[in-house]
């Protein structure tokens, strides 16, 4: 700030002490300082993620194997959904910068139009993230299994549809069903939700018995039934933790995966022993070490919280624009400052995308 007395800066930019560090207004400079500190938080989180990733090495899940589902379309689209989310956020960043540009021309209509688009984009991103979290928490149809030799594996393939359960021995809440009756999605007890839920619940509780072709299930009420299920297609086991028999599968070499009869036998043996995890919570998850789930929830959650607060701040400023507050003031600096925050949220996502999903 030395020599400020000789600097010719327009009076409107000067701070209370009649100087203007970096020729920036007070509000904008403080926003930059805040963003640097916030970037340190996210940087710290991502570096901690990197630490765990290095420490766990081959056990760590791989983005394109974990995130490959699309709404309504099922599996087999590696990273497509995250790429869509990235695109949504980039576009909303673009509409924000267009709002700032319109503000510089004192074009109120333009600011209104582009800020509205930014807010809509923000809601789209939040909605996408809600789906992503829901999918991550509920998990896949196969889950992750611990095999007989002590290794553990994630499962790829097409899960054969469960058609019905044939009652072998009715339980105490069987709605008058007797042996030989069919339990379907229509008449299953409400506490089981549907056949798939009943199946997964029984599998993780150790209430499934038998082999792939001859599975029996015990439901909540004690009903014993035969599972009528189509055969799984292309079932493959990707070993993530080595056991006494199987070693870790390499992502780059398909032949290191377990497939065919052996995979089916191992998978259903694990199910029959209750050695399966579906989905994710803070204690365990089907994708990898528990730290993986924790980092997923914390990093994407913390970022999502930033997006949410960004949308709220954008709405507040948007109301200000509509009421003409900034137009009367003679400049749209408030739009520029909320814009800085919004772009920062996009910036963080660019890094999360690369380091959490791609690498």
């Amino acid at each position: 700030m030395a020599g400020h007395a000789t600097n010719e800066i327009d009076g409107a930019t000067l701070w209370g002490g009649k100087v203007s560090p970096f020729s920036a207004s007070y509000g904008k400079l403080m926003m930059w300082f805040f963003l640097v500190s916030d970037a340190l938080t996210f940087g710290g989180l991502l570096v901690a993620y990197g630490f765990s990733r290095y420490a766990f090495d081959g056990m760590w899940p791989i983005g394109e194997e974990t995130f490959e589902a699309l709404p309504f379309l099922g599996n087999g689209f590696p990273l497509a959904y995250v790429a869509l989310m990235t695109f949504i956020l980039i576009v909303s960043s673009v509409t924000m910068v267009l709002a700032v540009e319109a503000g510089h021309r004192m074009d109120k209509k333009g600011v209104v139009k582009w800020m509205l688009a930014t807010i809509v984009g923000g809601f789209f991103f939040l909605g996408s993230q809600a789906w992503e979290w829901s999918h991550f928490i509920h998990g896949t149809e196969f889950g992750r299994v611990a095999l007989s030799d002590g290794s553990s594996a994630v499962v790829k393939g097409e899960f054969g549809k469960i058609k019905s359960f044939t009652v072998i021995e009715a339980g105490h809440h069987a709605h008058g069903m007797v042996a030989g009756d069919e339990i379907t999605n229509e008449n299953i007890d409400a506490s089981e939700v549907d056949l798939m839920h009943a199946f997964q619940h029984a599998a993780s509780a150790g209430h499934l018995h038998g082999t792939a072709d001859d599975l029996t299930i015990t439901l909540h009420d004690g009903t014993k039934a035969k599972v009528n299920k189509e055969a799984d297609k292309n079932l493959e086991l990707l070993i993530k933790e080595a056991g006494s028999k199987y070693s870790v599968s390499l992502p780059s070499d398909v032949s290191t995966r377990l497939s065919g009869e052996e995979a089916i036998a191992e998978y259903y043996e694990a199910l029959a022993h209750g050695n399966v995890i579906y989905g994710a919570n803070l204690e365990q998850n089907e994708y990898g070490p528990k730290q993986y789930g924790q980092f997923f929830f914390f990093i994407t959650g913390f970022h999502g919280f930033h997006v949410f607060s960004g949308v709220i701040i954008n709405i507040l400023i948007f109301v200000g624009v509509l009421r003409g507050i900034y137009h009367k003031r003679g400049h749209y600096e408030m739009v520029e400052k909320t814009g800085l925050y919004w772009h920062f949220v996009d910036l963080v996502w660019v890094f999360v995308f690369t380091f959490f999903y791609l690498i």
Binding site: A39, F51, H104, R105, P251, H331, E333
Partner: protein, 117 residues
Amino acid sequence: MERDDVIEYSLDTHHSEEQGKKIRKKIWMVTLLLTIVTAVEVALGAMVKQGSDAWFTVKILFILLTLLKAGYIVLTFMHLGDERKVLKWVVLLPYAIFIIYFMFIAFTEGSAVALAM
């Protein structure tokens, strides 16, 4: 001079309709670039498997493309490139020094933990 504290703003950031046209064109060019880079990243991620021979090169490429995207967002969208040079470096340099140091420490330590396990 007398002034209202609310109205503290660098007036030189206002621009005309004509300048605006140029700026908007630049914004759309950057949008196109960011979209293409993201598409390339996803395509590469789907084609090159982790652990294959090409993976190391692709990983480095991912990091470089990410820094490219980040650069365009910070310098163009956040207008840091249009601020005074000294502000630009006050924001970028301390952060870069700290994070590079932090990454070095954490990844070295992480590899050591992996060896010990």
